[in-house]
């Protein structure tokens, strides 16, 4: 009897081992920290239940290293099945044959706002599915505006009003007028792009030609130079994260941030506007998406694509958006009403979806970022004249253009 039981146990073990061998693991790299999005874990568990032949190994990697990790693994021939990447990297990944295009039916495409889909689309194909989306607005501190004798029913709508408000706050209160991030970090470039779009400027045109040296962009740099006089001292030491406590403590009158920034501003009675309009443009914003991509050559492209589509299905994606505080990626019926009922400030971020501009697409986007940041820093520090900075950036961008 004992021998029989032992044989049965051994057979059971062998069977479960065999079953385990039949389960294929999908390695997925997710930027951020475990616990950021509990609802995503629920969705993955549900997908695994529907697809018992697969197990998802979800690896969280901090933002600073996650893109490098996914790309380095891919280069070394050990690509993850899928990864969460800034959509700005897609062109580089696609041009280097690392990711595969994602075929979407017209119906699936219709589930996205065209401006959102545009952030992951080039050469006529979609290269990733938007996972996180942000539009940005100008937060202004109503208390400081009142203290400076500025109107508090409406925030700045134009650059002239922004400058006047920053100057007044700087001169009439103990706070600085505005927070400008100018550290050697990506949101220095992003911040500039928002003002650039609100003045009708561009970095590259629809054909991919570098068109940075334009009167609009020189004007934007000049505006930045003026604005820097009323910003926090030493803007080159600040990225957006370091400015958040300054705004929350009432030490700066204005800050540009996304909807997800609201949770950090609990101490402030703030108003929100779209990015004020420049002399040659209209109020606008920058559309930034992060996407889930499917890597090539992993042997699990099909289930990975299935997983990615499952996770970004409208209802599931909306749950993730709500938890992350992100602007909704997908067009879900009733989403707008739900968000506005929850917080009327959503209006600015939702209005921005249709009118904002995307991140410029270049294969060597990191070089582009460095070039733009150096130009911005030079102007903010007063070391380079705006026109000179724009012209130099143009020539350096042309060198790295595709």
């Amino acid at each position: 009897m004992k021998r029989l039981l032992m044989s049965a146990a051994a057979l059971g073990l062998l069977a479960s081992a065999a079953q385990a061998q039949n389960v294929t693991t999908l390695h997925v790299i997710n930027c951020g920290a475990d616990g950021d999005l509990p609802v995503q874990n629920e969705h993955i568990a549900a997908w695994e239940a529907e697809n018992p032949a697969y197990k998802v190994n979800l690896e969280y990697v901090p933002w600073g290293q996650c893109e490098e990790k996914a790309i380095s693994l891919a280069r070394a021939g050990d690509a993850p099945a899928s990864a969460y990447m800034g959509s700005r990297t897609l062109k580089m990944l696609a041009d280097n044959d690392l990711i595969q295009p994602i075929a979407l039916s017209d119906e699936e495409k219709a589930g996205y706002e065209p401006s959102v889909l545009a952030t992951v689309q080039f050469d006529g194909q979609v290269w990733g599915l938007p996972r996180a989306f942000s539009t940005k607005g100008l937060f202004w501190n109503k208390t400081l505006f009142a203290e400076a004798g500025l109107p508090t029913d409406k925030g700045p709508q134009t650059w002239a009003e922004t400058l006047a408000a920053a100057k007044a706050i700087d001169e009439k209160t103990s706070a600085d007028g505005i927070g400008i991030p100018a550290a050697s970090f990506d949101n220095t470039m992003h911040q500039f792009l928002k003002w650039m779009y609100s003045n009708g400027g561009q970095v590259v045109d629809a054909e991919g030609k570098v068109v940075f040296n334009s009167p609009q962009n020189v004007e934007t740099m000049e505006f930045y130079k003026e604005l820097a006089q009323y910003a926090e001292p030493g803007p080159l030491a600040y990225d957006r994260g370091k400015l958040e406590p300054l705004f929350n403590e009432g030490r700066i009158g204005m800050i540009v941030h996304g909807g997800f920034g609201r949770k950090g501003f609990s101490n402030v009675d703030y108003g929100l506007e779209l990015i004020p309009a420049g002399p040659h443009g209209a109020q606008s914003t920058l559309l930034i998406t992060d996407s889930l991509v499917v890597f090539k050559g992993t042997g699990v492209e099909e289930p990975a694509l299935n997983l990615v589509k499952y996770l970004t299905a409208p209802e599931r994606q909306f749950e993730v958006d709500k938890q992350g505080g992100w602007t909704p990626v997908r067009l879900v019926e009733g989403a707008e009403e739900t968000l506005l009922a929850d917080d009327p400030n959503w209006k600015v971020f939702l209005d921005g979806i249709a009118i904002g501009g995307p991140e410029p697409v270049m294969t060597d986007y990191r070089a582009m970022q460095d070039i733009l940041i150096e130009a911005i820093q030079g102007v903010v520090m007063g070391e380079v004249e705006p026109a000179e900075a724009v012209a130099e950036a143009q020539s350096r961008l042309e060198e790295i253009a595709d």
Binding site: N96, L98, S184, G234, A237, L246, Q377, G378, E383
Partner: protein
């Protein structure tokens, strides 16, 4: 009579030799090979001759080399000076010196990233201690961002590096000082030599080899110091703190230009090898001098 060749010792050495080849020699050779290619994230790579090196030296890399040398020199000189000063104090026969020896260690024990984050907050103009104290004492009219301006950011990274690196130098030199024979000091004292004279003519020459060793090691570590600058400034503002290692990382890892990054690494390696060569020459001379001194005193 001819000696028979005994292979056994070589067999014993073989595992270590293979390991060294695998983890040191092969990566170095691979780096040199990559430096002559246009390797990037593309799966294929082509041989491009000296193109990476030509681009390197026709661009801003020469300025980066000079900046690195300045950063390393400032940092190493300060670490050695402060370490020597600290070692002299800790070597003095004062009550409770063991406690002082322990108190010297925290900057070196605390994980570098945590220490550097602490410094980054201290350098903050709005909330940081340094700017706050300087304002309170009337040296500053308003908040000053130490990491927001070229010169102050450069010096701030040096100060942080010195803070982290000094304890090890102190303890190393302290250990060296404790090997100096007491009789030499006593003989000099009997001859009427002052405390400073004894330090200059007895202690310093005898610890010179240790000082040189520490100078070289410290220079190598400082050359390769990455996390301090990266966490504080990422090489900014406007490249004011971009050293060779930061530039290499940005090129090879951030921009995925592995070939160009390897050319930078290879240049860094050659510079460090030159430095090591100079050090070995100096060390030999110092060792000879120390031997002469000991023989003279015997």
């Amino acid at each position: 009579m001819t000696r028979r060749f005994d292979a056994f010792p070589y067999l014993l050495l073989l595992p270590a030799a293979l390991l060294t080849l695998a983890i040191v020699a092969w990566p170095v050779m691979e780096t040199f090979r990559l430096s002559f290619t246009n390797a990037s994230i593309r799966a294929t790579e082509d041989y491009v001759g000296f193109q990476n090196y030509e681009r390197l030296f026709s661009g801003g890399f020469v300025a980066i080399i000079w900046r690195t040398l300045l950063w390393v020199t400032l940092s190493v000189v300060l670490k050695l000076a402060m370490g020597l000063f600290g070692a002299v104090l800790l070597n003095a026969a004062v009550p409770g010196r063991t406690i002082f020896r322990v108190l010297v260690m925290p900057p070196w024990i605390v994980p570098i990233a945590i220490g550097v984050f602490m410094w980054s907050w201290m350098y903050n103009g709005q909330f940081g201690m340094i700017s706050g104290l300087l304002q309170r004492w009337g040296f500053l009219a308003g908040p000053f961002e130490f990491l927001g301006y070229r010169n102050s950011a450069f010096l701030a990274t040096v100060v942080t590096d010195v803070w982290i690196g000094t304890p090890l130098v102190t303890l190393y030199l302290l250990a060296a000082m404790q090997t100096v024979p007491r009789e030499l000091h006593e003989a000099a004292w009997v001859d009427g030599a002052s405390r400073f004279y004894r330090f200059r003519r007895v202690t310093l020459p005898l610890i010179a080899p240790s000082l040189a060793t520490m100078a070289l090691l410290s220079a190598i570590w400082t050359f390769n110091s990455f996390e301090i600058i990266w966490i504080l400034t990422e090489g900014g503002p406007r490249n004011a703190t971009t050293t060779m290692i930061i530039d290499t990382y940005k090129t090879a890892i951030s921009r995925f230009q592995y070939g160009a990054g390897a050319a930078r690494s290879a240049t860094l390696l050659i510079l460090l090898m030159l430095l090591t060569g100079i050090y070995l020459l100096l060390l030999n001379r110092m060792a000879r001098r120390a031997r002469r001194l000991e023989e003279a005193s015997a």
